[in-house]
Amino acid sequence: MGTTQSGILGGRLPLADYETNFSDLHPALDRHEALVASDRCYFCHDAPCMTACPTSIDIPLFIRQISTGNPIGSAKTIFDQNILGGMCARVCPTETLCEQACVRNTAEERPVEIGRLQRYATDIAMKENKQFYTRAASSGQKVAVVGAGPAGLACAHRLAVKGHEVVIYDAREKSGGLNEYGIAAYKTVDDFAQSEVDYVLSIGGIEVRHGQALGRDFSLGDLTEQYDAVFLGLGLAGVNALRIEGENAEGLDDAVDFIAALRQSKTKADIPVGRRVVVLGGGMTAIDAAVQAKLLGAEEVTICYRRGKEHMNASEFEQDLAASKGVTIRHWLQPKRIALKDGKVAGIELEYTRLEDGKLTTTGETGIIAADQIFKAIGQTFEASGLGSLAFEAGRIVTDAEGKTSAANVWAGGDCVLGGEDLTVSAVAMGRDAAEAINRAFAAATPQASAVA
């Protein structure tokens, strides 16, 4: 039994509907489908897809390995560059990365299904728990990694391969970062994020300490004292404020919390959602929140974005997905005031906007959308604490090309650094590359063994 009652309620749908609604968005390819899909790859030289991948996976090679019946070899090709290739296969906006670059787009406007093929190969290897890497002899070097998200995990894994001891500190109860708490449930079903964490950590030499927050339980100074190197993969823990009337009303929630709660729920029926929902923002988080609100049984879901369609950070595919689920996307609307009733959210007053000489201004015209729940998805912020005198710019950690920060023996990567791209795959690349840089720094600092006379 479902309900269309007003207010913010769980159990709006019959139980079985939740299961259907939150099933795999892109079901896995079976062997035959994978062979057909892989056959479309031209094995391009200096392939544009590979250049478009932030982790530079050798895509033509891994697809050829699938086509020749060697998915295990294919998975190794993927993991060599991206140990979180399984999650990236699920959550990468491939339509703006590898698949956008695929030459098949020019030929027939339909790229090779690179993401789904990557999932095919990595699923097989992970299901068989096929481990491709062993640790080098112990280096005696110890590295602290702060944050068990994509950047931290990728960094820790590569460091472990090189023979270093790694301790990961994470404020949350589970590892995975946004992979565990920040992605729509239908993109990563069956607790995949945790399976992947287990798969990555099984290399050994990595200890994870949960419930340990930087700035609360320890400082960067503590780490640099105890470890030979530190990697910061902190992510963005804060959320931008609306700075309008009614900001703290009941019914106004952070989209990231909603998304995290959905991921931690088994049935989804326990997650309350409004009958009429407004989501503020234009990125992937806004889409993830809006679509899932609809899938939970909200009657009416509207995304309001203060600029035009062409400015939205959410990819075309994500926008279409939202539309297909019945989400309305409205542009050129900026929040002005939260309308309240009995202290609770009753709607939102929005003001129309336009661009004037490249600057966003309001037109003075306003309108109200009724809502019993409003989600903020207007961007996350970096919350710096316990970082001492580390150099920042535009609210992010400044690093050089190798991820080195202004502090000695401290590297950083992922969303928390300047130039972070809000992409799992970019975070993985930065974590991996920082590990290589740390390894090089260790090697440079260690005197070459010389022959004993």
Binding site: Y42, H45, D46, A47, P48, V103, T106
Partner: protein, 437 residues
């Protein structure tokens, strides 16, 4: 509407598409279905001599290789000649011929290489009303171990001898089916002609192991853990067949001898290629075994539409038209110069032309121009080899452009000589030098 009616050594059929002697023509049921679908003729699956029929294996008889999306490219079989009683076959042939008087019905025959054996079977076949006989000198597996099939086809003297017996003991036209498992196809063709054959048909299947089971270390198809070579056919063998047909068509000793073309014919275009290389009609098997008999409808309409578009009225208009253009390498014009040209508008930038030229040929295609990925032919390096055209995934994106006479060849720094000149007179040819001295 082009006239597709076929008259092959006096055997008439409404179109030039016959089903080859093979599993699809094993019995009346199949042949009736083939005629209903529109096939112009059939060569009935090979008859053996009177007595207990041959037996076939009861495990897998076929193997295959596949291309994209499991499209069947090559096929192989170890089935023998008909395993049904001779008289059952003869009875059915007679009935089918009565039912379909306008279609061609040919009897394929394979009996031991003894005059009496041929003398015995020919009147029986003639009595069915069959339009002709085809001598199976091609079957490369099983029967050849017993001194028949390819074992005969590989010895020109035997071919000539058996053909002569057949011409002596029957009034039916004789088509001699040749095996490709020899080094020079002209020799058996000449022998067949010397024996008085009315026509040759080719190719039969090629000795092959189609694949190996890597778990059990045995060839496919595997029968109880062991395999044997089979006969290879299907699209993959077409180029071999085309060459052999052309060799016979242009050999002065066999020129004009009617040819029934066989080997990987799958579409109307394949058929047209055989016809223009000298075949009077074609025989098909694997395509039917892959898709069923209906494919003949595409072949008929395709051939007819192409002929209409090109203004060819009937099969005589096209048969052998390409034969004069098949020549020896030594007569190719060495002053003909072509360069590859990449149409930038249709280039999808896969880079394959560059990498194959760079790695395996003449380093004549750019990868970057002004720092941007850009594939362009360098005329000063291009020898016109056609490799880039062969590997480009986009049709007509890369073309070979002939340099006109007088134009500068950037590679050699010399203008294109307007005169035809071939190897026989080339100064680097030692034979030519000797002749000049």
């Amino acid at each position: 509407m082009a006239d597709l009616r076929n008259n092959f050594v006096g055997i008439k059929s409404p179109n030039p598409f016959w089903l080859a002697s093979a599993p699809p023509t094993d019995k009346a049921y199949n042949v009736e279905r083939a005629f209903k679908a529109g096939w112009g003729g059939v060569v009935w699956k090979t008859l053996g001599e009177e007595g207990p029929p041959v037996v076939n294996v009861n495990g897998p008889r076929y193997g295959a290789i596949w291309g994209a999306d499991r499209r069947l490219l090559g096929f192989n079989n170890i089935e023998l000649i008909t395993d049904r009683d001779l008289y059952v076959n003869l009875r059915e042939m007679k009935q089918v011929k009565m039912n379909w008087p306008d279609r061609a019905l040919i009897a394929s025959i394979m009996v031991p290489c003894e005059e009496e054996a041929w003398k015995a079977i020919l009147p029986l076949v003639e009595e069915t009303g069959a339009d002709g006989i085809e001598l199976n000198f091609g079957c490369p597996h099983g029967m050849s171990e017993r001194g028949m099939g390819a074992a005969v086809g590989q010895v020109p003297e035997y071919i000539e001898m058996v053909v002569r017996w057949c011409k002596q003991y029957t009034r039916m036209p004789v088509i001699t089916k040749l095996t490709p498992n020899i080094t020079d196809i002209r020799k058996p063709a000449r022998a067949a002609k010397a024996g008085g054959t009315d026509a040759v048909s080719l190719i039969n299947t090629i000795n092959s192991i189609v694949s190996v089971d890597l778990d059990n270390f045995a060839p496919n198809p595997t029968v109880g853990g062991k395999g044997t070579h089979g006969g290879y056919c299907g699209p993959a063998v077409k180029p071999i067949a085309l060459n052999m047909v052309a060799e016979i068509a242009r050999d002065p000793e066999t020129s004009g001898l009617p040819i029934s073309g066989i080997g990987g014919i799958t579409t109307w275009r394949d058929a047209a290629e055989f016809l223009v290389l000298g075949a009077g009609n074609v025989q098909v098997c694997t395509a039917a075994m892959t898709y069923g008999f209906k494919i003949v409808q595409e072949m008929i309409s395709g051939l007819s539409d192409w002929m209409d578009a090109k203004g060819h009225r009937d099969l005589d208009d096209i048969t052998g038209r390409a034969v004069p253009n098949v020549t020896d390498w030594q007569y190719l014009n060495l002053n003909y110069i072509a360069k590859a040209k990449i149409d930038q508008d249709s280039c999808i930038k896969c880079g394959r032309c560059h990498i194959v030229c760079e790695d395996t040929s003449h380093q004549a295609i750019t990868q970057f121009v002004n720092g941007v990925r850009h594939f362009e032919v360098m005329d000063d390096e291009c020898v016109g080899c056609n490799l880039c055209v062969s590997v480009c995934p986009v049709e007509n994106c890369i073309t070979m452009e002939e340099l006109p006479a007088g134009a500068m060849d950037q590679r050699t720094g010399k203008p294109v000589d307007p005169n035809y000149a071939n190897w026989t007179t080339h100064p680097n040819n030692p034979m030519a030098r000797q002749a000049a001295e």
